[in-house]
Amino acid sequence: MNPFRSGIVASPWESTVVDVNTIHHEVFEQCLQGIQQVRATQRSAGLLIHGEAGSGKTHLLRRLRSHLAPQAPSATDRDECLYVWVRLQTSPRMIWRTLRRTLVDDWFRPVSGMNSQFQRILFHRFAEIRTAEGDLERWYDYMLENDRPGLKDLLDRIADALDLDRNTAVAFEHIAFGRHVRDLRAWLSGDSLPEAALVRMDLAQDEGTDEEREDQSRQIVLMLCRLAGNGLPIVISFDQVEALQMSPGDRDALFSFGQVTSTLHDSTTNVLIVSCVQSVFVAELRDHARRADYDRMTSLGAWSLDPLNRDQALQLIQARLSQFSDAEMSKIPTTAGWPLAPAAFDELFAKDGSIPPRQLLSLCAERFEAWLKQSRKNATSGNAVPSDPTPETSPTTNAVEESPARPAVATFFKEKWAAAIEEKHASSTPERTEEIIRHGLPMLVRLVAAETKLVTDDLLPDVSLVFETESGRTGISLCTQANMNSLSARLKRLKTQFSTERLQRLVVIRDSRIPISATAKKSQQLLDELEQQQAVVLHPTMEVLAALDALRDLLSDAKSGNLSWHGGTILPQTLEEWLVGNLTDGLRDLVDQVLGNNSKAAGKGASDTRDVEALNTLLATRPVLQLDEAAEALNRPIETVTSLAERYPDQFRVLNGPPATLFRAEEAASQHS
């Protein structure tokens, strides 16, 4: 085991392995004091943390999250907090929706193997009004089992006291009784739900235009903060703010972020907003956010995460080595700063007296690896264990430079890209499709068709992205609603907007995992009518969505200094250059289809959409079925269905029989992998 290998903390929700509390102790204390101030004054506040790439921003958030995790069952006399971590890998026009989804995900997450944060809110609210004494959680279990009407009365009292709107009150009740958890979570996250699920939960959903949905998410977030109450402060930490920028120097993204923090600051009474950015980005944030917004973002100050000085570096190395047992430690040289040689260690501080933690860990990891290799070699040959592995190269710069001794950065990119696609494929859900397309597609288009501009048009509220080229404007509308009424309403509005001729081309993006149901005649009719108006309907495959998700993830990491190779930070431009030459065919096709650069989309789109939707609907309920059954269900000749499957190999596959069998291409891909 190499104790220096885990140099990057990907998420504050990761469990803590080694932490040196004295490093960045002051900033950590400021966060705790910030929480105390929010609790005492009942006013929300903001704190900005900045440091260079690899300085430990997410590591500090993990320490904070871990510190705030409940150490014992809920009780009335114990100060507790809620925690939310928002990685801003999203479109600037979807920040509230991303915050809402993340907040709900984090609050449904069991903390420290105990209750979820939503349940802790419930306990705190009960603690304020219940008359019984004794252990709160045991009392709750008793009420749940023996006195459900009594519990319902208490919930009604809480809802009345907080002036909760009807939907929130009903949702809160479902949480208390543990009902419809999956659908409830989706509803709270803002996912489109089928009518039947809404009826089952007795909740309403009004999706509206893009702007209205963003506004609804804002209201839900503020309502959930109110639900938590002043007794339960919430830490909302924003990480990777840089990733919001759709292009270098994008001012709108930072302006939007400023507005979000300002609203949170002014419209809540119990939130500590912790924003994390790279030092190099601070001036840009200050210049592009509105002054008043920046002041709120930093109402408790801006704090620097300093690189490590000599003493802190020694402490970190020692802490990492302390993971070894005594027996293992006895084999390790006791020189201070080992596995770095004393001279090499001193050289790290000669220039400016400090080194970023990630760079130090990476250097140590390489040296340790070399020592381990040498030790094994010596053990087999019977020689003594070496104290210093091999002569070291001078670690003078932080930026990545290729070294003949190291594998090429291209190899690193290739492995990272493949792993990211695989991970995104495994975690792909249709609810994320909109965010992936809206955040990832502009990045992809910038790589493949750099001359294309991303513009906005407020008169097209249902068109999420507008690309402008010499030949005109192309609008992209995400129509991935599971609720057929909402889908129908959106398509209707879209039809009107497309008629205004503000676009030369309209692309409607659907997710084949959410087909139009057989009874949703209106939606199908509107989609047909849009196609008659020359709109193009696309169904990106899961492979394409996973690749696009991986692309935005890697580029966001690079922009925020989180893509590291041998301790150095990989520049976004370096990654972009590699991606241009290594994009999958699916991604290139997607850009061509979106911008209308080939006849592929136009050739097979217009007359097929209805059949594609129908076949997807059928396969959603019966993923594998005989071809003749499919033909009968669709009321089409077998040849038509076969031909359709052949024209859309990325969606459907036919296995020649007998009997000939039809199934989803995704099923085939997953079984193959």
Partner: protein, 430 residues
């Protein structure tokens, strides 16, 4: 031949009783068809049989009949309008802001009332002056209703926002920042601000141009001038009076003179005499660096000293005369001598604290900002900053992709001359 239908029998007394019981326990008016379905378990009775009975009960006043433009009439034993009115008024009393009819319907569930019915009730209350109506925030929005006077609430919100403003604002600026429950018009906000000026709680501040709208602030125009002057010097370095005047838009010459004099009196700014080809004085936050002023004297002194040395004038004699000259010029040699330290005589740490008030709490100071204020040559500045970092007084923050910057942008960063660039610094000993 078509068979003749048998006449419908009226429902039995028992069915009639069961029907009334269902209606009394219902939470809303129900149509005949729904009532027939609810009766179906114990009493087989059709919608057609029930309708005459329901009509009779409605005529005799036992039930209320609710007709709708679409659909069939519904029946109930209670007066829906009275119940709805009471619930709506209760919801309004507990509301923390004005609400639309639709929002109020959501608050009185499970009682079901159409938006039109709710609007009718609300308008009646407005006519009776028990409620107030407010125009919608957007042109396409619906009117809002509340039982409280927004003028008083609006006034409080305006004054609170005015107190929190850290720079002058127009009525329009403040309108956008208000936390009042309903959006106030700019004219309403302007009226409150004018009242405050008359009462002396706010100061009028002229607009930045002749056409700009008047501004307001908790501080007067002289304080505005002082802050603008210091901000300009701190961010751009020493400035001429003409440049400072541009920063103090809206102030007349007399006021500008007053600002400059008061800052000089408080030693917050110092005059720098004209230098070289520049014919104007400039103002800085520190006294001028003497070296550029003495450059010509130094050149001439070098020439003369070289000449005298070649004429075999003893060095001791030269030193004695030069010291005498310097002392006559007011430079005393009785105190401490200049340290041999190679660092420039600029206290960068103090300067950092001055340009970034949050620096002592850990805020980053941009290399560009500090460089402008320090007024040192680039190599001296970079050297001084790196030295402070090595001493542990500062932590330097690297710029990871300085190669992507232009040469001008790179020159503003601190560099070690070995390929590493720093974007800014933070105080370590805080």
């Amino acid at each position: 031949m078509a068979t003749k239908k048998a006449p419908l029998l009226p429902p039995s007394a028992e069915t009639r009783e069961a029907l009334l019981q269902i209606i009394r326990s219902s939470q809303e008016p129900l149509a005949a068809k729904a009532l027939a379905t609810l009766l179906a378990d114990a009493h087989t009775v059709s919608e057609a049989q029930l309708t005459p009975l329901l009509e009779e009960l409605a005529t005799t006043g036992v039930l209320q009949k609710y007709s709708a433009a679409k659909g069939k009439p519904r029946y109930w034993d209670r007066d829906l309008r009275t119940l709805a009115r009471a619930s709506i008024l209760q919801a309004i009393q507990t509301a923390s802001a004005p609400l639309t009819a639709k929002e109020l319907i959501g608050k009185i569930l499970p009682l079901k009332v159409s938006e039109a019915e709710a609007t009718e009730i609300l308008q009646a209350e407005v006519a009776g002056k028990s409620l107030l109506i407010f125009p919608p925030a957007k042109a396409t929005g619906k009117p809002l209703y509340w039982d409280r006077d927004l003028r008083t609430l609006g006034r409080t919100a305006v004054l609170e926002a005015a107190q929190q403003a850290d720079e002058p604002f127009t009525a329009k600026d403040l309108t956008g920042r208000l936390k009042a429950p309903l959006k106030l018009a700019e004219a309403d906000v302007a009226a409150v601000l004018d009242e405050s000026v008359a009462a002396g709680t706010l100061h009028p501040i002229p607009g930045t141009t002749a056409k700009s709208k008047p501004r307001f602030w908790t501080h007067d125009v002289l304080e505005l001038g002082c802050r603008a002057t210091l901000r300009a010097i701190n961010t751009k370095g020493p400035q001429t009076l003409a440049n400072l005047k541009k920063e103090m838009k809206g102030l007349n010459d007399k006021q500008i003179q007053h600002v400059i004099s008061s800052l000089q009196a408080k030693s917050e700014i110092a005059v720098h005499p004209p230098l070289g080809s520049t014919k104007h004085e400039v103002y800085g936050t520190r006294p001028p660096a003497p070296a550029p002023y003495l450059k010509d004297v130094g050149t001439q002194l070098n020439k003369v000293v070289t000449l005298l040395k070649s004429a075999r004038v003893p060095v001791e004699e030269l030193r004695r005369v030069l010291v005498q000259l310097l002392e006559e010029a007011g430079i005393s040699f009785g105190g401490n001598s200049v340290p041999a330290n190679s660092l420039p005589a600029v206290d960068l740490v103090s300067l950092i604290k001055r340009i970034e008030p949050g620096a002592e709490r850990g805020a980053l100071v941009g290399a560009r900002d500090l460089r402008r204020v320090a007024q040192l040559a680039k190599p001296d500045f970079d050297h001084a900053v790196l030295e402070l970092a090595r001493q542990g007084q500062l932590s330097l923050h690297r710029h990871d992709y300085a190669t992507s910057l232009s040469q001008v942008e790179r020159d503003e960063l601190v560099t070690d001359g070995d390929g590493t660039f720093y974007v800014g610094m933070a105080l370590r000993s805080r």
